[in-house]
Amino acid sequence: MAADETPVAKRLKSIKHIIIVCSGKGGVGKSSVSAQLALSLYASSPTARVGILDVDLTGPSIPRMLGLDGRGVLQSSEGWVPVYADGSEARLGCMSVGFLLKRKEDSVVWRGPKKNAMIRQFLSDVRWGELDYLVIDTPPGTSDEHLSLLEHMAPVHSRLSAVIVTTPQAVALMDAMKCLSFTRTVNLPVLGLIENMSGYVCPCCGEVSNVFSTGGGREMARQEELTLLGSLPVDTELVTLLDAAESADSEQAADELSHGTERTFQLIDQYQRTSSSKLFKPIVEGVISALAVSSGTPQASSAEDAKIES
């Protein structure tokens, strides 16, 4: 019955799949994986519509990574308008608390109830429109933000799934286990595990160093019977790309809008030239096919002939 629908359920009705990117530990690359996932899903089909929601309220990184620093959110009659990374094409929408801060060094010092309210607003007030995928980037831990997300999205639980990101170190794996326990407790299906920062290739001699140890993700996936979606090495090219994605000063913001299209194509082109994007391809294909299996819909053609490298 329509009357029973919560505002969140109503708003999220037009979204096909919701993917929550989580990890127990901080700094393992949740945001960079979320950004890559969104970019790769965007590139997976010329009509794919993707949204990315950053619920890391006290440390939002997504705006910087997508080169949207300094942009603002506008209010429309149908709700908050997400910031579109690809300008007029409007296929890659983004929402983050970073867009709501007056100065970028402002801290958001909030306790749980306020964070809960902000998340509810993000879920119910943002005018995403029709989306194929909504990628949600979460803060580290298993606390207020995560509980609030799941609580508010309970009416659309059947469309939720999670991707867990970890690094190969024992310390990070321990936290990833906690995150996995969390997903099991709240009955959230896990699409798979991504092992990030698995090795670093010296730009000088090509020697691979295991900066944060190695193989831990594979081992955890085996023990816990999870799919290992892929391992990503540290890619300085990608770090630089996501880090330096040129920011717009607020006075340039207006000017920016008109040039938006041209510039983001740049980001996606640049991304597709990095070696990470090639490694990320099978990961995205794995995600798409796992989603197709879980929702029982016919697979997208690109996923069918995907060779998922193990």
Partner: protein, 331 residues
């Protein structure tokens, strides 16, 4: 344009308050629209809440035997807060006459027990309170990691429960006489941070060491953390740049894994007007030592990273001593 509002004093909003709580110490406490329906509205309106928290005297008493309290903070996760805290603890306690305590308030992801190699230990209660777990005679540790039935268990707590545990760590743990209490925090600027600052308000925090990595994405969060310190009145002892440069073990060339695209921590420190304590290079052996729970400083005392750590620890102590002298001269 829509923007977030920061009207109230963040320290006076209780952890279980409604979302627009004006703060219990505000003139409007119990009287605003947001207060309608709050279970504590009557208490706020009566003016009782203008007084101090009942836990504060207990915390103050416990903390009266602790000489220095240092927070280790960072806006971003995974930059090496816990590793740095552990190295600092080991370095301080290398002197037999110095008593050091480490308190891990990262409730959802406690790493300190693993890094210090005491992950399987448990906390025991005695008549004088909970006994910390000792790594060595003069290095005591308290973490929620000691209280879980299995390391796989997740703690899914909202703010108020986390705050309850933090207040217990401060008032119920039998720390004894300590020269240093190091507090390792989770990433961000939220419940845990507000609580620890609130509870230690009367016992004076000596300062905070802020850890970052060189790339702008991390620096952004660190600027917010420094902004937080200013809002709540904590002195920033300095900024440490971790994972700064990587020396290839094969060809010995240094490369930047996390490129300082905006000048790194050094420039950020100048911009934010805080001290820059130094940079620690990325060494895979640091992570490995942390996984095995051994002291990197003891295992590889001659490595460049150890030397960098020791320099930073020395300048931290120096800054602390300066603060102390300044306090005596102009109380």
């Amino acid at each position: 344009m829509i923007a977030v509002q920061h009207a109230v004093d963040p320290l006076s909003v209780p952890s279980d308050a409604p979302e627009h709580c004006p703060g219990t110490e505000s003139e409007l406490a119990g009287k605003t629209d947001a207060c309608a329906g709050c279970a504590n509205q009557d208490i706020c309106a009566s003016g009782e809440t203008k007084g101090p928290d009942p836990a504060l005297p207990l915390v103050r008493e416990r903390m009266s035997s602790v000489k220095r309290k240092i927070l280790v903070l960072s806006g971003k996760g995974g930059v090496g807060k816990s590793t740095f805290t552990a190295q600092l603890g080991w370095a301080f306690s290398a002197d037999d006459s110095v008593q050091t305590g480490i308190m891990d308030v990262d409730i959802c992801g406690p790493s300190i027990p693993t890094i210090l190699g005491i992950a399987s230990e448990q906390v025991h209660a005695s008549s004088s309170g909970w006994s910390p777990v000792y790594v060595q005679d003069n290095l005591g540790v308290m973490s929620v990691g000691f209280m879980l039935p299995s390391s796989k268990d997740a703690i899914m707590w909202r703010g108020p429960k986390k705050n309850g545990l933090i207040s217990q760590f401060l008032k119920d743990v039998d720390w004894g006489d300590l020269d240093y209490l190091l507090v390792d925090t989770p990433p961000g600027t939220s419940d845990e941070h507000l609580s620890i600052v609130q509870y230690l308000k009367e016992s004076d925090i000596d300062g905070a060491v802020v850890i970052t990595t060189p790339q702008e994405v991390a620096l952004q969060d660190v600027r917010r953390e420094i902004d937080f310190c200013r809002k709540v009145g904590i002195r920033v002892l300095g900024v440490v740049e971790n994972m700064s440069g990587f020396v290839c073990p094969s060809c010995k060339t240094e490369s930047q894994i996390f490129k300082p695209s905006t000048g790194g921590a050094k420039r950020m420190a100048v911009e934010m007007k805080v001290d820059y304590l130094g940079a620690v290079p990325l060494d895979p052996r640091i992570g490995k030592s942390a996984d095995y729970g051994v002291s990197f400083l003891d295992e590889y005392p001659d490595s460049p990273a150890s030397i960098a750590y020791m320099d930073i620890i020395d300048s931290t102590q120096f800054t602390l001593a300066l603060c102390f002298i300044a306090l005596i001269l102009c109380p």
